[in-house]
């Protein structure tokens, strides 16, 4: 009995690691740049396919190809913000209007990116095998790749948190998240910071996708489900709170694992039930502002 609970919890943590990573990414994009990027999942997908493609082409460790994809995806996100979203920002009369327009623009991006992916890699399912041998943990067997995924998800998240807390750029980002105008007045290059945050958010998504590709099969349409999960975690953890998104990710992962253990196939439905309850009771989330 205890063993089963432990299995479920560990499986939940493994799932949660990915959720935390993608939620932190989205939280950066929405919390700071105020873009609710519903094409977030597509960046996950690109990270997954990029890692897969390089692994197939070059044959080296996917963790390395993941690191190779990262900067590319970061740059894509960075430039998307510099061009598209900055343009929207400059032509919007208020933050609310900007949020609405950028939401719709990211809706368009969703289809653009997905279509490009299908053109490049085709619409069928791809998979590869990496570290798929089992590891014995607390009496149950877990694939090594998923443990590595969890490890890296945590490392990346913690590294980023330290970056935010300790470096000058990190502090600038936090200032911009609190109050963009004042931060701008105090000498922070707001435009650069917002674009950087958007890029970092895309980077997180890309990393998550790469990690996912090591464990699961991937398709060009895999993104949307993760976008929805990321959104739910961000609301759960509090819109705008990065730490909240991190914790929320693991929380939701554990819940998902429990639900899957009881009744597989209902995980997304369960997430939505939680989402609904949150909206009813406390829309500002656990750590929301």
């Amino acid at each position: 009995m205890i063993l089963t609970i432990l299995d479920v919890v560990i499986a939940g943590l493994l799932l949660g690691g990915i959720y935390a990573l993608i939620a932190v990414g989205l939280s950066l994009q929405y919390g700071v740049a105020r873009v609710l990027n519903i094409s977030h999942g597509e960046f996950i997908m690109i990270g997954a396919f990029g890692t897969w493609m390089l692994y197939k082409m070059v044959g080296i460790n996917p963790l390395i190809t993941l690191a190779m994809c990262g900067p590319v995806i970061f740059l894509i996100g960075f430039f998307l913000h510099r061009t598209l979203f900055r343009s929207l920002l400059n032509s919007s009369a208020s933050w609310d209007i900007f949020e609405g327009r950028s939401l719709l623009a990211s809706f368009g991006l969703l289809f653009i990116i997905q279509n490009i992916a299908i053109l490049t890699w085709g619409a069928d399912i791809k998979a590869y095998s990496y570290l798929s041998y089992g590891v014995n943990l607390a009496g149950a067997v877990f694939p090594a790749n998923r443990l590595v995924t969890l490890l890296f998800a945590v490392i990346i998240s913690v590294a980023f948190y330290l970056f935010l807390a300790c470096t000058r750029l990190g502090k600038a980002i936090r200032a911009a998240a609190q109050d963009p105008r004042t931060a701008g007045l105090m000498g922070v290059n707001i435009n650069k910071v917002l674009a950087l945050c958007f890029g970092f958010g895309a980077l997180m998504a890309g990393f998550a996708g790469g990690l996912l590709s090591m464990c699961y099969p991937i398709t060009a349409t895999m993104g949307m489900e993760y976008t929805i999960i990321a959104i739910i975690v961000v609301v759960l953890g509090g819109l705008g709170s990065i730490v909240g998104s991190f914790i929320g990710g693991f929380l939701l992962g554990i819940i998902g694992s429990i639900v899957t253990y009881i009744e597989p196939g209902l995980a997304l439905v369960a997430y939505y039930v939680i989402f609904t309850v949150l909206l009813l009771a406390r829309p500002t989330g656990i750590l929301g502002k």
Binding site: I38, G108, F111, L268, Y272, L279, L280, P283
Partner: protein, 317 residues
């Protein structure tokens, strides 16, 4: 309701034009049978979706990404009860089911900021698809359903009927005090509430009414697909297209969405045959460009050009 507005000269002219167009459309199966009827049905489907979407999201600024959910509910209603009940009732129930779903979603999310509404409606499509999949696998033991077949002329006439009903409803709302209330909510929601408008009720009911027509359209069009499953019926594309058509066409007037829907249905038919792998890319790009450079849509652009031309004329004389 304002009797004077309804019978004013301008609206009489407007309604006469609409009546003439409907008469022409009603006789299409006679003088252009076959493909034109099928194409017009598709155009009508998107017109209904887009006009319904604009009816709520236009004045209030609350971006709903749920049209696909309501359309899908209509499709599934048709599939489930289509063989046992007369068609008009099926369409009505399809609309009603969507209406009820929208009431639920609206009551839940329209009390909160617009962003929660947008993201809840975005995920709704996938949620329902997943739930139905689970239901079909575990409860009913089927995967997908077969829909009864209807002649394409029948489909066409039902779509015309739904569209006429929609136009009348949209017009009446727009020119009533509720149209004014919707606009005020979109511009200054707090002030509207303090001026006595029950903002939540107005939003939820209008949202539900718009969903009714999307559901009805789904119920009628369902008979085009002979076989459906949760992912065919609940496809995010059906949320994307109305948004694209509305933004491109223009959300201020009722004819903006009609123009946008007509253009893009043609475009979609054309692109699917020639560039099937590219058309979502093209449409996505058009949406982004329209958001950036066509804030009032095509109609707004034409209106601005017209104004500039007539101002130029005044200066010259």
């Amino acid at each position: 309701m304002d009797i004077t507005t309804l019978t004013s000269k301008r609206s009489l002219v407007w309604w006469s034009i609409v009546l003439i167009i409907f008469m022409l459309l009603a006789f299409v199966p006679l003088y252009a049978p076959g493909y034109p009827v099928v194409l017009l049905s598709s155009i009508l489907m998107y017109v209904i979706m887009t006009v319904s979407w604009v009816m709520f999201s236009g004045p209030t600024g609350y971006m709903s990404l749920a049209p696909a959910a309501f359309f899908g509910v209509g499709i599934y209603t048709s599939a489930i009860i289509g063989k046992t009940l007369p068609f008009p009732i099926v369409v009505g129930i399809g609309g009603l089911a969507s209406f009820c779903l929208a009431l639920l979603v609206g009551a839940l999310t329209l009390r909160l900021r617009g962003i929660y509404f947008a993201i809840f409606t975005f995920g709704l499509v996938m949620l329902i698809a997943h739930f139905l999949l689970f239901w079909e696998l575990h409860v009913t033991g089927t995967r997908g359903r077969f829909v009864m077949v209807m002649g394409y002329n029948t489909i066409y006439f039902y779509m015309l009927g739904v569209f006429l009903l929609l136009l009348i409803t949209a017009y009446l709302i727009r020119h009533s005090k509720y149209g004014l209330a919707l606009l005020s909510i979109g511009q200054e929601e707090d002030a509207a509430a303090h001026t006595g408008v029950n903002v939540t009720m107005v939003k939820v009911i209008t949202f539900a009414i718009s969903a009714f027509f999307m559901g009805a359209a789904g119920s009628v069009m369902a008979t085009k697909w002979t076989y459906i499953d949760p992912f065919i019926a609940f496809n995010i594309n059906f949320s994307f297209m109305p948004v694209l058509m509305a933004i491109f066409g223009g959300m201020g007037q009722l004819y903006g969405p009609v123009i946008g829907a007509t253009i893009f249905t043609y475009l979609e038919e054309f692109l699917i045959t020639r560039f099937a792998e590219l058309y979502m890319l093209i449409f996505g790009t058009i949406l982004v460009v329209a958001i950036l450079y066509l804030p009032d849509g095509l109609v707004g652009l034409i209106q601005r050009l017209w104004k500039r031309i007539s101002e130029r004329k005044h200066v010259d004389t």
